[in-house]
């Protein structure tokens, strides 16, 4: 009896050891996939786990789901077969089976009622972030190459990319193209251009490969802070635009593609449409707007292009955004979360009126933004870049050696979390988490208790905010932000109530960012840009009196920025005016001459963050090696006396922030491979007809 018991126990121990080894290997594979972004290596590891630990059904099922997800990210068809295998062979494994079912549904073909709809991913990668609507033949999409700021064209058939503008890199110029929209004939792309004077223009550039044309400024007005194209009229004569005036209110209008004349159709207060689509007959614009200042609800409208009437098309408590028109113009398409998740819906539109009730075409499309409908009736949509998350790690601040490699901190809303900051007592971590159903808008401010793991979510009344910095007394969090009346500046958020207070409100033509607290909490240091003069300043603001002191005036953009823990110095990156090399400088908080700490050889740049070590003797920074969006960057540690510069091998791609926990010196990081996606939904028209 005793021998039998010992034998059973030995078998149990062996199984337990094997289980823990399987789990360890699974964790390593997940690390390769999510942290390193090495999908091919991850697939290999998952396949080995599935083969080696067949008896561990939980681990095997999970490995198979991850393997399928890797294939899916790479646009490979194997993903479907693997998901189906999980459902067939591992239906008893609740979580993996649910994931496989959900993924299959998103691939199309897995949901019987929508069996004729085919949804597939057609492009993915770090550049898939600001992609414009697809051409009528479904072949090309214009996009912004965020590595350089150029407007480019992606061929969805061949996968080739081609620059349409040729401004060089961000080291050559801070200019950038945004919001590209291609003309119906595919021969021109309209886009928003942020020029050297930091003012936006509406521009048009030709797409003909063998006959390149210089970009043409179509609309520029000193009284317009921002303008962007959204859609071309079917005859190519007009471009539907959205613009923001100097009083920060916005308008929807039409710009003549030949003359640049602007016809304002509708003023929309401080709100902005997510998307605007011309109807196939050119008589209407379809767009969405927030229902009010204090709500995230959006509704969908149809506006006659002659200004004669507006039809509130979709008025519903849900979040509804315009997706486009069917090719015959008889249905308008919108995305809505009314069923619990974002899905695509259709509403009949005939004789200038909506008719009947909306019909659900496809549920669970994720955080999608619309890219229009091709002539053949395929609906294109993008999924915003995701993959950034929060990690914790530890390093030796003297040697730069890694003590513990990055491991995830936050398990909720995976891929949507960023910009952490520790509370002064080190007990809480504040961070932004993206929650907009289209992935394009609002963040919440999350406050995570390190003791309990509890997360409180604050919804500050701001249209956007960035870079939370906890005040030394822990009672406020400073952010660069814009309020819901479009006023940009620096605000504080109460970490208990979420209430917002302005600290610095920009005057017209200014913008202020990167707030840093003095150790006594009495001052905020920040960078101010003057758009009218193309000039930047570093400023200290006394919070009690509101008085400001100019610390530095610069023509190059100081970025990033941090203050030393002892409160004596600011550190910032800036291009050298002569060599244009990226230079790291420190400046006494009283002002004076900045001192150079180091310079990077071109084309290297500083990226995203500078963080002073607790002893105020060294600075952690991100080095961008090349001006491409796919550059993962490196983290380095530099002594401010110039005695040493060391790379810190944190083994995490794309680190965007490092914040050091008071007391322990533990790091909180934002990192991970950001990847956006473009999807096509085919055959939805016949499915819709069948439904109707």
């Amino acid at each position: 009896m005793k021998r039998i018991l010992v034998g059973v126990m030995a078998a149990m121990l062996a199984a337990a050891a094997q289980n823990s080894e399987a789990e360890r290997q699974l964790k390593a594979a997940i690390n390769a996939e999510l942290v390193n972004g090495d999908l091919k290596a991850a697939i290999k590891q998952y396949a080995e786990i599935a083969a080696k630990y067949k008896n561990d059904r939980a681990v095997t099922a999970m490995a198979l789901v991850h393997m399928a997800e890797c294939h899916q990210k790479m646009g490979e068809a194997e993903s479907r077969q693997i998901y189906e295998r999980v459902l067939r062979e591992y239906a008893d494994q609740k979580e993996p089976a649910a994931k496989a079912r959900m993924r299959l549904a998103s691939l199309g073909g897995g949901v019987p009622s929508h069996s004729s709809i085919m949804t597939r991913q057609i492009w993915a990668g770090p550049n898939v972030a600001d992609v414009g609507p697809v051409t009528a033949d479904g072949r090309y999409v214009p996009y912004t190459d965020w590595g350089t700021g150029n407007i480019a064209l992606h061929d969805l058939t061949t996968g080739e990319n081609r620059d349409l503008t040729h401004k060089g890199t961000y080291m050559d110029s801070s200019e950038e193209g945004e919001e590209p929209v291609i003309a119906p004939d595919g021969k021109h792309v309209a886009y928003s251009w942020l020029g050297k004077e930091l003012r936006y223009q509406l521009r048009v550039v030709g797409t003909t490969e063998n006959a390149p044309s210089a970009p043409r400024v179509l609309y520029e007005n000193q009284e317009v802070d921002w303008i962007a194209p959204y859609a071309w009229s079917p005859d190519g004569e007009w471009i539907a635009v959205q613009l923001q005036k100097k009083d920060r209110t916005a308008q929807i209008g039409l710009v003549n593609a030949a003359t640049g004349a602007l016809r304002v159709l509708k003023s929309i207060d401080w709100r902005l449409a997510n998307s605007i689509f011309y109807s196939p007959d050119g008589r209407y614009l379809l767009f969405d707007l927030p229902a009010g200042d204090d709500t995230d609800q959006r509704d969908v409208f149809v506006l006659a292009t002659d200004g004669s009437r507006e039809i509130p098309a979709v008025m519903h408590p849900a979040f509804d955004v315009a997706m486009g028109w069917t090719p015959d113009g008889k249905q308008l398409l919108f995305a809505s979360n009314r069923s619990g998740s974002m899905g695509v819906w259709a509403l009949s539109f005939q004789n200038g009126r909506t008719q009947g009730s909306p019909v659900l075409i496809k549920s669970d499309i994720g955080q999608a933004w619309p890219l229009g409908v091709s002539r053949s009736g395929a609906l294109y949509f993008g999924v915003r870049p995701h993959g950034q998350d929060l990690y914790e790690a530890a390093i030796d601040f003297e040697s730069g050696k890694v003590i513990s490699t990055p491991s995830p901190i936050v398990e909720e809303f995976v891929g949507a979390n960023r910009t952490p900051d520790w509370s002064p007592d080190g007990k809480y971590l504040a961070y932004q988490s993206r929650r907009d159903p289209t992935g394009n808008g609002f963040d919440i401010l999350a406050i995570r208790s390190l003791n309990s793991g509890e997360v409180r979510e604050l919804h500050p009344k701001l249209s956007w905010f960035f870079g939370p910095r906890w005040a030394p007394d822990g009672r406020r969090i400073a952010v660069g932000a814009s309020d819901r009346k479009g006023r940009n500046g620096i605000f504080t958020i109460d970490p208990q109530s979420g209430d917002v207070s302005p600290v610095v409100i920009n005057q017209p033509g200014e913008y202020s960012v990167l707030p840093k607290w003095s150790p006594d909490g009495k001052k905020i240091y920040f960078r101010r840009g003057d758009l009218t003069k193309g000039q930047f300043t570093l400023v200290a603001r006394d919070l009690a009196t509101g008085n400001e002191r100019l610390l530095l005036r610069a023509t190059g953009e100081p970025w990033p920025l941090d203050i030393s823990p002892d409160g004596r110095y600011l550190v910032f990156g800036k291009p050298d005016p002569i060599s244009r090399q990226a230079t790291l400088l420190i400046l006494p908080v009283e002002g004076g001459e900045p001192r150079q700490v180091l310079q990077l050889p071109r084309p290297q740049e500083f990226g995203n963050f500078l963080t002073w070590t607790p002893d105020s003797r060294s600075i952690l920074f991100r080095k961008r090696l090349a001006p491409t969006e796919s550059d993962a960057g490196e983290v380095w540690l530099a002594a401010i006396d110039g005695s040493s510069t060391r790379q810190v091998h944190l083994n995490l791609a794309n680190i965007h922030d490092i914040r050091i926990q008071p007391g322990t010196g533990k790091l909180a990081l934002t990192g991970g491979i950001m990847s956006g996606e473009v999807w096509v939904m085919e055959n939805f028209l016949s499915a819709l007809t069948a439904k109707r």
């Binding site: 000193q222 009284e223 304002v264 003023s267 507006e310 006023r487």
Partner: protein
Amino acid sequence: MLFLLAAAVTIPLGLDLYMPVPEENPITTEKIELGRRLFFDRRLSRDGSIACSSCHDPKRSYSDGRALAVGVFGRVGRRNAPALINRGYGRSFFWDGRAATLEAQVLKPIEDPNEMDLPIAEAAARVNLTSQELSQALASFVRSILSGDAPFDRFIQGDRSALNSAQQAGLQLFRGTANCAACHSGPNFTDERLHNTGVAWRDGKFADAGAGKGNFKTPTLREVARTAPYMHDGSLPTIEDVIEYYDRGGNRNPALDEEIRPLRLSSEEKRDLAAFLRCLQQ
């Protein structure tokens, strides 16, 4: 100059091409003309002494120059007669925003005992119309009262000489330090919303609660130089008085709008701001 539309709507420079018009009351030349005649018709008041135009005088940009409106039998109302400029773009009507449509709004003064004091049915009968025809015609006429193409509008369109340097400085203040654009926003210089500016706060209480807690609707600033006196009670006789009022942060009260705070403008800045406000008309 005001644009009185006699035909299909012609939108002056600076205003939106789209004007919200109820589907059941499309604008027609005939209705505008009928509405215009009704607007000046004294039969719509009990004693035949008052027409809409009595308090909304075209020569004063459809206001009346008095602090408080005066109705039949010399009855003095509670509030200043607002200028009827660009009301076609309005989203709510009256100082307290109590009417949701122009069609509803235009009938109220006819019934109001302090204004025209006549039951609507009787008013309609006097002019041989139904109540609906009366309301639709008056609303159509009000929609035709448009003001745009001011020096400000030409400046915005790119004519940098349309405003002189003082007016340009005033515009900067209007959008920036003076914070006027927080409420007086968009092409019509109003957010169409309700705010407590403190004007109604007297002796520790609201002399007029407006829409509640001293809230009143933001009026347009188009033609503002012609529409004195100012505020819902006409208590501020000049543009300079209004600037002084806001410069000191209004009357502090428990419900004061968070946008109202002391401005600390210099004398020159106040002059510039007034110069800008005076260019919001032709």
